[in-house]
Subunit: 184 residues, 2 copies
DNA sequence: CGACTTTTTGAGTATACACTCCATTTTGGA
DNA sequence: TCCAAAATGGAGTGTATACTCAAAAAGTCG
């Protein structure tokens, strides 16, 4: 049978609560009790919808990953600046989600499937960056372009990492500097 | 009064066990039981020496941080390649400790003192890299050099991050590529 | 040896956690 | 209006965790 409206609303409330908790306190803050309290729901209701806590977290995490690469439609036409700006905006505007993004990626030792998801996402990202680079320089596809893209993305991630430690760090300026250096 | 030898040996065994567990399975693998089992010691002995589990972990973590920047004596004379090679060796040879290094840095939201320690460490590292860069180019100290060093270190951290996700990633090659690009 | 101190033991405590169960209530289509 | 399916409440389960404590053992030194 089709799901009832009230169940769908509950699912939404739970996902919202999970998203907020992740953003506020990272993975450790996301306990079942915390989720249920914030969503105004009991454990039984949670497990009527999700099979595990992990499932809810994964669902929210997927959003975070997708948020890093917005507008997948534009893939193939966007400039390098578009891509970098999108990442800068993700880090500065959705700062806590950005921390979750890094946190989950690093602590993925416990769950290989998460690591694999991140890796796939990263590879796609490198491709988009490499494409944009080639379009810019009118050069032919070469191994060096991919390498350049890999290093640029590494720098962006590393600088985001730096920014998590110290929010007064000027992420945007350094990110743009990295791009300029990449172009040389 | 002076400590008995046996107590000092126990402390060493506990720290060794903690170090091994951190390296093998990351933060999650370091439970009190795991530490005590491996060290061949009971919980009471642990708490006779350390006031908390965190204290033992912190002590080991300090070592990991220091291992990233070897030979602090040479500070002021080493080349950029020396510094980068040291980091490459740290990541590839002490791979699991490298993961802990990243893991702790990102999850330091729960403990500000850890974040501050990492930040201080990072700032010192940037200075050493910037110094080496200046010595290389015979240029005067400028803001751009610091910025370059910050981006290069970001790239190295980001590539290490990448390597944690996929150990078949050629970290050394990309790290050297990043340095080459930095020199241009 | 004998007095004193340090260390060790290991059962025990308190707590937090993810998850289950099922009687009860609510929903929405026929 | 009826009723089967869906959703809910909330007490309960099992397990893992960090940490404690008092008594016993072992080390140190005159």
């Amino acid at each position: 049978m089709a799901r009832y409206q009230v169940g769908i609303r509950t699912e939404t409330k739970i996902l919202e609560a999970t998203r907020e908790l992740l953003a506020e306190g990272g993975l450790d803050a996301v306990t079942l009790k915390a989720i249920c309290d914030r969503a105004g729901v009991q454990a039984g209701s949670f497990y009527n919808i999700f099979t595990s806590k992990e499932q809810a977290i994964m669902q929210v995490t997927k959003e975070a990953i997708q948020a890093v690469d917005p507008d997948p439609e534009a893939s193939g036409t966007e400039t390098l600046d578009d891509l970098v700006d999108a990442y800068i905006r993700f880090v500065t505007d959705q700062s806590n989600l950005a921390r979750v993004y890094l946190q989950i990626a690093v602590s993925s030792s416990s769950d290989d499937s998460v690591a694999r998801r991140f890796l796939r996402h990263h590879v796609r990202r490198v491709e988009r960056f490499a494409d944009a680079l080639e379009r810019e320089t009118d050069a032919s596809i070469s191994g060096e372009t991919t390498e350049k893209a890999e290093v640029l993305l590494g720098a962006l991630d590393g600088l985001a990492f730096r920014w998590v430690l110290d929010r007064s760090f000027d992420f945007a300026r350094h990110a743009n500097f990295a791009v300029a250096q990449c172009r040389r």
